[in-house]
């Protein structure tokens, strides 16, 4: 059961188009998985959208009479998009060791940017996702007993549980949960369930390991979470 949702403020920022591209991606992937946030988002979209584009949203005559030049002509010379019904498109998947995981639609466009899995320290598997400069993203799979060394964050680490359950010494997380960690959080994710746990994680700055000698792992944090 999903217990961790984006805050109302994060949803509003997302709907208004005012959050970072990385946060927008994880929020929209969560929305794909969460009926509650789906409903909340469509309510927000209706009220914010209607207001932003309402008849009196622009009263300045100069703004209303902007010359758009040949824009209409350029647009109407474009062909109509092919009619593919959204619901008929197959859900994107990712595979690890013969196991197929269904992904939320928002992550579908990145499947082809996902590199191959590598096996890391502590029963962890990682597949890097090329997201360009918006952040460093990975699919991370924790086998039963898999453990990430305790660390904090120099930026925001946004995580979405794709399949399974894990704990991090702060809370227990289930499929669909949305987790945002920043420099104020220290945690040590691990999974103890038989089926393990697949998460999608995006960090907008490298992780910073904190506990004792594990700090010396920092030079290698790029090997874990590029």
């Amino acid at each position: 059961m999903i217990n961790f949702h984006p805050t109302q403020e994060q949803l509003v920022d997302f709907v208004e188009g005012n959050c970072s591209a990385a946060l927008a991606l994880v929020v929209s992937a969560h929305i794909d998985m969460c009926p509650k946030c789906q409903k909340q988002t469509s309510i927000l979209q209706a009220s914010i959208g209607n207001q932003a584009l309402s008849i009196d949203s622009v009263t300045d005559g100069a703004d209303l009479n902007v010359n758009f030049g040949s824009m209409i002509a350029e647009i109407t010379s474009l062909p109509a998009a092919e009619q593919i019904s959204v619901s008929k498109r197959e859900a994107p998947t990712i595979e690890l060791d013969g196991r197929k995981f269904t992904l939320p639609r928002a992550l579908g466009r990145y499947v082809e940017n996902t590199g191959s899995w590598s096996h890391l320290l502590g029963n962890l598997w990682q597949a890097p996702v090329d997201m360009g400069e918006i952040g460093k993203a990975n699919f991370i799979y924790m086998q039963k007993g898999g453990r990430v060394p305790e660390h904090t964050h120099r930026g925001n680490e946004m995580t979405l549980v794709i399949d399974g359950e894990f704990s991090d010494g702060v809370s227990d997380y289930d499929t669909g949960d949305f987790i945002l960690m920043n420099e104020n959080h220290v945690h040590a994710p691990h999974s103890e369930v038989n089926e393990g746990c697949l998460v999608f994680s995006i960090v907008d700055a490298p992780l910073h390991f904190t506990s004792g000698i594990a700090r010396l792992l920092n030079p290698f944090s790029h090997l874990f979470f590029k």
Binding site: A21, A24, N50, A52, D63, I75, A80, L120, G132, N218
Partner: protein, 204 residues
């Protein structure tokens, strides 16, 4: 309480957006069914200035605001058949398209940003993308051993790595502190990481 506005006028004001939604829905339907350019120009005439005004407030750049209007209205023209009046108003639908395009633009913009070199945000990390698979870091290497390796680095390289990874400084900060060029900090970091990787390979 607003002074001087008769009740009647107020009521007309309030009913306007709804009528407009109905009107715009009908135009969108004609665009979807007949590719009607006239109907599209009505939709454009209403939404384009409002989208531009909203985008300008948000982005603060005229050219990008116009790009957002063009991309959004292109989607409206090309995907009018996806609009469903039962699911929401034209404003909601078009606003949502604009929002998604805004995030696409944000992604592209971030990838275009050259003033913040990825190197500075991701010290060394980006240069070693290919290495993750080459270096096998398995359970055989304990954290203590890694600590030991760290001490084997030449002093100058170790200081730079400690600054970046343990103290969390940027490469620029370290350059300023040590009064050495940024390029030197970068090359020392690169040398040190390569050295550590060599040492790790020897451990296998």
């Amino acid at each position: 309480m607003l002074v001087g506005i008769p009740l009647e006028a107020k009521r007309t004001e309030a009913s306007k957006p709804k009528e407009c939604a109905k009107e715009m829905s009908a135009y969108l339907q004609t665009v979807a069914e007949d590719r009607c350019k006239m109907s599209f120009s009505k939709v454009f005439g209403y939404f384009a200035p409002r989208l531009r005004s909203y985008a300008l407030k948000q982005i603060g750049n005229e050219a990008l605001a116009m790009e957002l209007v063009q991309d959004t209205m292109s989607n409206v023209w090309q995907k009018a058949h996806l609009f469903n009046a039962e699911k929401g108003s034209p404003s909601t639908w078009i606003f949502t398209i604009a929002r998604n395009i805004r995030f696409d633009m944000l992604r592209k913009q971030q990838n275009r940003k050259e003033d913040i070199c990825s190197d500075d945000l991701w010290p060394v990390l980006c240069e070693h993308t290919a290495d993750a698979n080459e270096v096998s870091l398995d359970e055989q290497i304990t954290l203590e051993q890694v600590g030991g390796l760290f001490d084997e680095l030449p002093e100058k390289q170790r200081v730079v790595l400690e600054g970046i990874y343990i103290e969390g400084k940027s490469q620029q900060e370290i350059a300023d502190e040590l009064s050495i060029p940024l390029g030197t900090v970068k090359s020392r970091t690169r040398l040190a990481l390569n050295r550590l990787k060599e040492m790790l390979k020897d451990h296998d």
